[in-house]
Protein backbone atom coordinates (compact mmCIF):
# COMPACT_ATOMS: atom_id res chain seq x y z
CA UNK A 1 0.00 0.00 0.00
CA UNK A 2 1.37 3.40 -1.06
CA UNK A 3 2.28 5.76 1.79
CA UNK A 4 3.54 9.33 1.88
CA UNK A 5 5.25 10.69 5.02
CA UNK A 6 4.99 14.40 5.89
CA UNK A 7 6.89 15.96 8.77
CA UNK A 8 9.31 18.88 9.08
CA UNK A 9 11.66 16.64 11.08
CA UNK A 10 13.94 14.44 8.97
CA UNK A 11 14.30 12.09 11.93
CA UNK A 12 10.56 11.56 12.15
CA UNK A 13 10.33 11.02 8.39
CA UNK A 14 13.09 8.41 8.61
CA UNK A 15 11.57 6.72 11.66
CA UNK A 16 8.04 6.55 10.24
CA UNK A 17 9.38 5.27 6.91
CA UNK A 18 11.47 2.59 8.64
CA UNK A 19 8.58 1.31 10.76
CA UNK A 20 6.07 1.30 7.91
CA UNK A 21 8.50 -0.33 5.47
CA UNK A 22 8.98 -3.13 7.98
CA UNK A 23 5.18 -3.51 8.01
CA UNK A 24 5.27 -3.97 4.21
CA UNK A 25 3.99 -0.55 3.26
CA UNK A 26 5.53 1.12 0.22
CA UNK A 27 6.93 4.58 1.00
CA UNK A 28 6.37 6.47 -2.24
CA UNK A 29 7.45 9.89 -1.05
CA UNK A 30 8.05 12.29 1.80
CA UNK A 31 7.69 16.02 2.34
CA UNK A 32 8.90 18.49 4.95
CA UNK A 33 5.97 20.93 4.89
CA UNK A 34 2.41 21.19 3.68
CA UNK A 35 3.23 22.94 0.41
CA UNK A 36 5.61 20.16 -0.64
CA UNK A 37 3.09 17.59 0.53
CA UNK A 38 0.28 18.95 -1.66
CA UNK A 39 2.50 19.15 -4.74
CA UNK A 40 3.88 15.64 -4.25
CA UNK A 41 0.46 14.25 -3.43
CA UNK A 42 -0.84 15.25 -6.87
CA UNK A 43 2.00 13.34 -8.54
CA UNK A 44 2.36 10.32 -6.26
CA UNK A 45 -1.29 9.63 -5.38
CA UNK A 46 -0.64 7.72 -2.14
CA UNK A 47 -3.41 5.76 -0.42
CA UNK A 48 -2.15 6.69 3.06
CA UNK A 49 -0.46 9.81 4.40
CA UNK A 50 1.13 10.40 7.80
CA UNK A 51 1.01 14.12 8.58
CA UNK A 52 2.53 16.40 11.21
CA UNK A 53 0.61 19.50 12.31
CA UNK A 54 3.29 22.03 13.32
CA UNK A 55 5.27 22.69 10.15
CA UNK A 56 6.64 25.78 8.38
CA UNK A 57 5.15 27.16 5.13
CA UNK A 58 1.85 25.32 5.50
CA UNK A 59 0.72 23.55 8.67
CA UNK A 60 -1.00 20.18 8.86
CA UNK A 61 -4.51 21.55 9.34
CA UNK A 62 -4.31 23.60 6.13
CA UNK A 63 -2.71 20.63 4.39
CA UNK A 64 -5.64 18.35 5.28
CA UNK A 65 -8.04 20.88 3.69
CA UNK A 66 -5.99 21.01 0.47
CA UNK A 67 -5.46 17.25 0.25
CA UNK A 68 -9.13 16.49 0.89
CA UNK A 69 -10.08 18.84 -1.93
CA UNK A 70 -7.90 16.77 -4.27
CA UNK A 71 -8.84 13.28 -3.04
CA UNK A 72 -11.22 12.77 -0.14
CA UNK A 73 -10.55 9.01 -0.13
CA UNK A 74 -6.95 9.28 1.13
CA UNK A 75 -6.40 7.97 4.66
CA UNK A 76 -4.55 10.57 6.72
CA UNK A 77 -2.95 9.66 10.03
CA UNK A 78 -2.03 12.81 11.94
CA UNK A 79 1.21 12.26 13.88
CA UNK A 80 1.68 15.28 16.10
CA UNK A 81 2.96 16.39 19.50
CA UNK A 82 -0.08 18.66 19.88
CA UNK A 83 -2.02 16.68 22.43
CA UNK A 84 -5.09 18.88 22.90
CA UNK A 85 -8.59 17.68 22.11
CA UNK A 86 -9.36 20.72 19.97
CA UNK A 87 -6.58 19.99 17.46
CA UNK A 88 -7.60 16.35 17.27
CA UNK A 89 -11.26 17.25 16.64
CA UNK A 90 -10.36 19.89 14.06
CA UNK A 91 -8.15 17.44 12.13
CA UNK A 92 -10.75 14.70 12.25
CA UNK A 93 -13.58 17.02 11.23
CA UNK A 94 -11.59 18.08 8.16
CA UNK A 95 -11.13 14.49 7.05
CA UNK A 96 -8.17 12.99 8.93
CA UNK A 97 -8.78 9.32 9.69
CA UNK A 98 -6.62 8.82 12.77
CA UNK A 99 -4.45 10.63 15.30
CA UNK A 100 -1.22 9.45 16.93
CA UNK A 101 0.43 11.59 19.56
CA UNK A 102 4.22 12.01 19.58
CA UNK A 103 6.32 10.59 21.07
CA UNK A 104 5.35 7.19 19.72
CA UNK A 105 6.76 3.69 19.87
CA UNK A 106 7.27 1.51 16.79
CA UNK A 107 4.37 -0.64 17.96
CA UNK A 108 1.97 2.24 18.52
CA UNK A 109 2.71 3.60 15.03
CA UNK A 110 2.27 0.18 13.41
CA UNK A 111 -1.01 -0.36 15.25
CA UNK A 112 -2.33 3.08 14.31
CA UNK A 113 -1.58 2.50 10.63
CA UNK A 114 -3.04 -1.01 10.65
CA UNK A 115 -6.23 0.35 12.18
CA UNK A 116 -6.31 3.11 9.56
CA UNK A 117 -6.29 0.70 6.62
CA UNK A 118 -8.03 -2.27 8.23
CA UNK A 119 -11.07 -2.14 5.96
CA UNK A 120 -8.96 -1.54 2.83
CA UNK A 121 -6.98 -4.76 3.18
CA UNK A 122 -9.95 -7.02 3.96
Amino acid sequence: MRVMVVDDSEIIRLKVSEVLSSENFEIVGSAKNGLEAVEQFKLLKPVVMTLDITMPMMDGIETIKKIMAIDSEVRILVVSALADKSTLLKAMSLGAYGFLCKPFTDNSLAEAIEELVEDLVQ
Partner: protein, 148 residues
Protein backbone atom coordinates in the same frame (compact mmCIF):
# COMPACT_ATOMS: atom_id res chain seq x y z
CA UNK B 1 4.14 29.34 35.87
CA UNK B 2 2.80 27.58 38.92
CA UNK B 3 3.75 24.18 40.32
CA UNK B 4 1.01 22.40 38.38
CA UNK B 5 2.19 23.94 35.11
CA UNK B 6 5.80 22.95 35.79
CA UNK B 7 4.67 19.43 36.60
CA UNK B 8 3.38 19.11 33.03
CA UNK B 9 6.87 19.75 31.67
CA UNK B 10 8.45 17.35 34.20
CA UNK B 11 5.99 14.60 33.22
CA UNK B 12 6.38 15.39 29.51
CA UNK B 13 10.18 15.09 29.74
CA UNK B 14 9.91 11.75 31.55
CA UNK B 15 7.36 10.46 29.04
CA UNK B 16 9.51 11.45 26.06
CA UNK B 17 12.64 9.56 27.09
CA UNK B 18 10.75 6.53 28.36
CA UNK B 19 8.77 6.25 25.11
CA UNK B 20 11.50 6.77 22.54
CA UNK B 21 14.25 4.80 24.26
CA UNK B 22 12.51 2.49 26.76
CA UNK B 23 15.11 3.82 29.20
CA UNK B 24 13.69 6.18 31.80
CA UNK B 25 15.33 9.52 32.47
CA UNK B 26 15.80 10.99 35.92
CA UNK B 27 14.02 14.30 36.05
CA UNK B 28 15.16 16.69 38.77
CA UNK B 29 13.12 19.27 40.63
CA UNK B 30 12.70 22.59 38.78
CA UNK B 31 14.76 25.48 40.08
CA UNK B 32 14.93 29.19 39.33
CA UNK B 33 17.76 30.71 37.30
CA UNK B 34 18.75 34.16 36.13
CA UNK B 35 21.09 33.52 33.19
CA UNK B 36 19.87 31.04 30.58
CA UNK B 37 23.23 30.89 28.82
CA UNK B 38 24.84 29.11 31.80
CA UNK B 39 22.45 26.20 31.33
CA UNK B 40 22.96 25.61 27.62
CA UNK B 41 24.82 22.58 26.23
CA UNK B 42 26.07 21.83 22.70
CA UNK B 43 22.69 22.00 20.93
CA UNK B 44 19.50 23.82 21.90
CA UNK B 45 16.01 23.67 20.46
CA UNK B 46 13.82 26.71 21.18
CA UNK B 47 10.05 26.85 20.84
CA UNK B 48 8.42 30.27 20.89
CA UNK B 49 5.11 30.34 22.75
CA UNK B 50 2.25 32.76 22.17
CA UNK B 51 -1.46 32.87 22.96
CA UNK B 52 -2.58 32.12 26.52
CA UNK B 53 1.07 31.94 27.66
CA UNK B 54 3.95 33.94 26.28
CA UNK B 55 7.67 33.20 26.20
CA UNK B 56 9.77 30.25 25.13
CA UNK B 57 10.77 26.68 26.00
CA UNK B 58 14.33 25.47 25.50
CA UNK B 59 15.65 21.92 25.40
CA UNK B 60 19.44 21.91 25.54
CA UNK B 61 21.60 18.78 25.37
CA UNK B 62 25.21 17.70 24.89
CA UNK B 63 26.23 16.13 21.59
CA UNK B 64 26.87 12.69 23.12
CA UNK B 65 23.37 12.47 24.56
CA UNK B 66 21.85 13.30 21.18
CA UNK B 67 24.05 10.70 19.45
CA UNK B 68 22.85 8.04 21.91
CA UNK B 69 19.25 9.14 21.49
CA UNK B 70 19.53 8.87 17.70
CA UNK B 71 20.94 5.37 18.13
CA UNK B 72 18.01 4.49 20.40
CA UNK B 73 15.74 5.67 17.57
CA UNK B 74 17.65 3.37 15.16
CA UNK B 75 18.72 6.40 13.12
CA UNK B 76 21.94 5.63 11.29
CA UNK B 77 24.37 7.88 9.46
CA UNK B 78 24.44 10.47 12.25
CA UNK B 79 25.46 13.95 11.15
CA UNK B 80 25.20 17.59 12.24
CA UNK B 81 21.86 18.08 10.53
CA UNK B 82 20.29 15.16 12.39
CA UNK B 83 21.63 16.34 15.76
CA UNK B 84 20.05 19.75 15.17
CA UNK B 85 16.83 18.19 13.93
CA UNK B 86 16.58 15.96 17.00
CA UNK B 87 17.09 18.71 19.56
CA UNK B 88 14.38 20.74 17.83
CA UNK B 89 12.02 17.78 17.73
CA UNK B 90 12.48 17.03 21.45
CA UNK B 91 11.71 20.65 22.36
CA UNK B 92 8.65 20.60 20.08
CA UNK B 93 7.34 17.29 21.41
CA UNK B 94 7.65 18.12 25.11
CA UNK B 95 6.11 21.58 24.55
CA UNK B 96 3.33 20.28 22.31
CA UNK B 97 2.29 17.61 24.77
CA UNK B 98 1.48 20.25 27.39
CA UNK B 99 -1.43 21.42 25.20
CA UNK B 100 -3.36 18.51 26.69
CA UNK B 101 -3.77 20.81 29.72
CA UNK B 102 -2.99 24.29 28.33
CA UNK B 103 -5.34 23.89 25.35
CA UNK B 104 -5.09 25.06 21.76
CA UNK B 105 -4.41 28.68 22.71
CA UNK B 106 -0.94 27.57 23.91
CA UNK B 107 0.51 28.28 20.49
CA UNK B 108 3.89 26.90 19.43
CA UNK B 109 6.35 28.11 16.81
CA UNK B 110 8.38 25.67 14.76
CA UNK B 111 11.74 25.01 16.48
CA UNK B 112 14.72 27.33 16.21
CA UNK B 113 17.97 25.46 16.82
CA UNK B 114 21.20 26.88 18.25
CA UNK B 115 24.57 25.23 18.20
CA UNK B 116 26.94 25.94 21.07
CA UNK B 117 26.66 28.37 23.92
CA UNK B 118 25.62 31.66 22.52
CA UNK B 119 25.94 35.00 24.21
CA UNK B 120 23.50 36.28 21.63
CA UNK B 121 20.33 34.48 22.73
CA UNK B 122 17.88 37.34 22.47
CA UNK B 123 14.63 36.36 24.12
CA UNK B 124 11.87 38.12 25.93
CA UNK B 125 12.69 37.27 29.51
CA UNK B 126 9.96 36.62 32.00
CA UNK B 127 10.13 37.27 35.73
CA UNK B 128 10.85 33.66 36.69
CA UNK B 129 12.86 31.29 34.49
CA UNK B 130 12.97 27.65 35.56
CA UNK B 131 15.35 24.85 34.69
CA UNK B 132 14.27 21.22 34.81
CA UNK B 133 17.38 19.02 34.88
CA UNK B 134 17.21 15.75 32.92
CA UNK B 135 19.68 12.88 33.28
CA UNK B 136 19.48 10.09 30.72
CA UNK B 137 22.12 7.40 30.40
CA UNK B 138 24.51 9.52 32.47
CA UNK B 139 24.13 12.53 30.19
CA UNK B 140 22.70 15.74 31.60
CA UNK B 141 20.37 18.00 29.62
CA UNK B 142 18.13 20.90 30.60
CA UNK B 143 14.59 21.91 29.84
CA UNK B 144 14.33 25.66 30.37
CA UNK B 145 10.90 27.17 30.91
CA UNK B 146 10.77 30.89 30.14
CA UNK B 147 7.01 31.43 30.27
CA UNK B 148 4.71 34.01 31.78
Amino acid sequence: MNDENLKLFVEGSSHYFETVSQKPATIGAPFLIKDINKYLYDYTGIIGISGNHKGSVFFSAPKNMLIQLLSALSILDINESKLMDLVGEVSNTISGNTRREFGDQFMLSTPVVLKGKSEDVQITRVEKIYVIPIVWRQHQANLIINLE
